[in-house]
Every structure is written in structure tokens, then in C-alpha cells.
Subunit: 152 residues, 4 copies
């Protein structure tokens, strides 16, 4: 298991603050449930307007929280003067997301000064059982000396 | 340029019908603007609740319409008894999506009996000028004898 | 941990036979070291002609054995009448592959009738220590009733 | 069409020099055929030891030259003090590579100070006709003040 260096003791608060500035995430009903060094969990309760044509969670929502969980996992390891940017990600959808809650767990595979690689596993919770429905592998850039802050 | 075989003359109507069954796409204000064999364009006007932390279009929205444009481009070439499923996609985000309208243009690179490869380019329209902000390369499966229809 | 269904008791022999028909793998000095249900390990000892411009293992070699380890991991779960085809893969290179031996460990994340998702981790062995240098996430298709056999 | 800024007038020579330091590329018989700003073409004539189990060009070779063509396309736009590093790539294999010559054409989609996105199309030449057999979308990093030079 990799041990991660923490550059900013208030990393959890910074992730929360950044998350809350994202109109889209709030609008979707997404919540950050857990923030550890190199690990972030995001949850979204099902609502009808989050569905695709079969009534399950939409793939776009899966990608959205997969990307966010991986990106914020990377952000937990960054300095207070930095922010995080998604360079790219790849998502494999492995099963229909049929359930009451969508859960993305992002973790850092390899932190780097300029580029961090994260993976997110996405589960759907149905009748108390979690099922893996997708996985994401992504690349996130450190925006040095460009802190994540409110747009004035 | 590849010429595509059309298996279903009413492909445009089928794409529209499927699109309208997606609660998530309607909720985002997404619209299908153009449907040709192997080509689909989706547009989303900016709204505040579609933003990320800097006030631009959210990356999750970019991925969502990129995936949909590529998947529906594949769907235009399928038989009436088939439906389309996203296997995976990769998205490179190349510039901030700062503008009034987000536009995804999906096109089929290579149709196949069971697997179709599509690419989508995503542009942001600002003050009348389009700027490329992302590209997606994805794999879509034909669900044979499993028509896309309303969930009863 | 997922339990996998075995459809072919001689899966290990089939993987070996297929591997040995690949001129390219033999030419690179690649060896299959371990074959379990849903798990395959491939190793390549360093040779000067496998290097990139800095004298480390070439990225092309990393991708080659990552793809093969993931594809053969999928193949272990297929029926005797089927063969395996790489649809696509994504490779993140995370550290220089500087060492005596390159090792790819492929594992099935989610088996499927027509499509299987595998991940491979690639390590470089140097002075007795393994270091993670890349990871691959890929999609592999089952070619039904198309057995993997010598080209006559 | 994007116009690219050239930071180094001798970009073609630099690409050639770097290419020739790669033992693996020479060993495969790969040749650089064309080097323009943001565009690189690599060719490999068929040899039996480059084959997969059906006697076609091996997928590992496809990935290798796809990655190289995309990376060197990025390298043509970099300053003389910089070198190029593959961060990640995704490869979709769309048809068997059955023919006499494998050709990868890499082009820059979006150059950047620290990260460049390139795409490569891979064709197989058979009886005088080119067929698209794969496409690659990749991310390449500029290693600033780290020139590509012989290992002393």
C-alpha cells in the first residue's frame, strides 16, 4: 500500500469547499461522504430525472461522479496553492446501474508533482447490496499556484 | 469517407424517441439538433446549475453529451430490433468549456455487427465562435433483438 | 472477490498454445508465468533491443504485455469453442520501466458473454524490488464458435 | 485547421535522432517516413516475427507505433530544451491488420505548454490499398528543460 504525503492539513475542508462551488453536483443531489488522503467517496440518491431510457441511473451521471471522485482524491494530496484539473478519463460501464444509490469511490494510484493517476469504482446500492457497475481510470493535473477558489 | 449501410429507414425518429425517454438529458436541457447516418449532434444551452467550480460547463456534462452523441451515431446504423449500449469511452478535456452553448458532434468511425467505434468532438460556442474543448473515443455494443422501447 | 465460472477445464493449456503461436511474443522473449482462472502473468527479461531512448523498457512493450495479460485473463474463462479479441485498451504509464524484468499481471474485473473487462498492472523488477510502472484497463470480445487454433 | 507554432526549426532532425536511439523501434524494422509540424508517420514492413496467432501484425506493434507517432507529433512542436513523455493512450483496434505494411499517422489535436493531445490512425497496406485498422487517442507531457539526448 502506498503511503501518501499530505501537503495541506485542511485537505478535507478544501475538497468540500470546492465541491460546493460546483452547481452541477449540487443540482444532481450528489454528496461527498468520505474524504481521506488519496480517497474520496461521492454518493447520489436516485431521482427520476437522473435516469436513462430504461429507468436506471444515467451513464452520464456515472461518468460525472467517477471523474469527480478520482479528481478530488488527487486534490487531497495537493498543496494549498494548487488546484486540480481533469486531463482525461476512461470509463468502462460493466452493469446497469439499477438501484437506490450510486456510489463512486475514487483512489489515487500514483501521485505526481504535475500529473496524478486515479481510479474510481462505481457501485449501485439496491436492497442493501452493492454491485460494481463501472470503473474509471483517469489522469489529473496539478495547477500549480492556481488555488481553487470562488470566482469573483 | 465511409459509406454506411442503413438498416432502418426511420433511424432519425428512433433516435429522437430514445433520447426523449432519457429523463437525465431532458433535465439538462439537452437537444438533438441533427441526425444523419452515422452522425448525431447534441446541444445544451448554458444554465448556472450546469457549471463546475469556475462557472464553466461541467466536465460531467461534456462526458454525458459526448457519450450520447457517439452512441446515437452508432444507433442510426442499427436494425429496428436492436438497441445500443455504451461499453466504454475515453474523454480528453482540452480547454475550459466557457460559453453559451455546448455542442457534441458524434460520428461513427467503424460500424460493426456487435461493436461500433464512434468519436465525438465537443465544442463550446462563445460570442459566435466555436472552440474545440474535448474529444471522446468510445465503444458501443449492438444489443441484438432487444429494441429500445419504453419500460412498461 | 468474484468467483469465476470455468467453462473449459484445460484453459491453462489453451492459453499456452495460443501464446506460443504469437511470433511477436516469442521474439520479445516474453514468457507466461502463471495462469489461473481470470488471472495471467507475463514476464519479459530485459534485453538491449527492448529499450526506448533512455535505455529502459520501451512503452510499446509495456502495452504489448499489458494487453496480452488482460486478454488471456479473459480467455481463461471462455468456452473451448471461443477465442478472444482485443476491442480496446487504455494504458497509463506511471513510472520509467527501469530494471531487469518487466511483469504484467492481468485480471478479469467483469466477465461477460460477449464482452469481458480486464485490468493489468505492470511492474518492473530491479534489484529484487517490484515497482508499479503502468496500469491498463481494457475490453475484450468473445469470438463465439471461432476457436483459437493454428492457421492452416 | 489549427496552425501550430514551431519552437525549434530543427524539429525533424530531433525526431529522427530520438527515434534512432530507441533500440526497440529499430529492432522492429520501424521507419519514420514523414515529419511535419504536428504530424509524424511511421511504417513497419511485415515480418513473420511481428505476427499474432493468426499471422497478422500483432496488436502490440500497432499500439507501439501508434503511441510513437502521436508522441513524436507532439515532440515536433516542443522547444529544443524539452523532451516528450507518454502519459497515457487509448487504442481501439477496429480490423485485423492483415497486409504487407503497417502505417501509423500521428497528429496533434491540441498542443499545450505541459500537456499535448494527439491522435494516431493506423492503416494496413495490402495489395496497394490502405485499410484503417486502429485509432489511438493519447496524452503526452512536455518534460521542460530535460532535452532528449543520448544516455551517457
Amino acid at each position: 500500500m502506498t503511503k501518501f504525503n499530505i501537503q495541506n492539513a485542511r485537505f478535507a475542508q478544501r475538497v468540500k469547499d470546492s465541491f460546493e462551488r460546483q452547481g452541477f453536483m449540487l443540482h444532481l443531489g450528489a454528496q461527498i461522504e468520505s474524504i481521506e488522503p488519496g480517497l474520496v467517496e461521492i454518493r447520489v440518491p436516485f431521482q427520476r430525472h437522473l435516469s436513462q431510457q430504461h429507468g436506471f441511473f444515467h451513464g452520464g451521471l456515472i461518468g460525472t461522479i467517477a471523474d469527480n471522485a478520482g479528481g478530488y482524491a488527487a486534490f487531497t494530496l495537493m498543496a494549498v496553492s494548487d488546484s486540480v484539473l481533469t486531463v482525461e478519463y476512461k470509463l468502462n460501464i460493466m452493469a446497469p446501474a439499477h438501484g437506490e444509490m450510486l456510489i463512486a469511490r475514487g483512489r489515487v494510484l500514483r501521485p505526481g508533482r504535475s500529473v496524478t493517476v486515479s481510479q474510481s469504482d462505481i457501485f449501485v446500492l439496491r436492497d442493501g447490496t452493492e454491485k460494481l457497475c463501472a470503473t474509471m481510470l483517469g489522469t489529473f493535473m496539478t495547477m500549480v499556484d492556481s488555488p481553487d477558489q470562488p470566482v469573483s
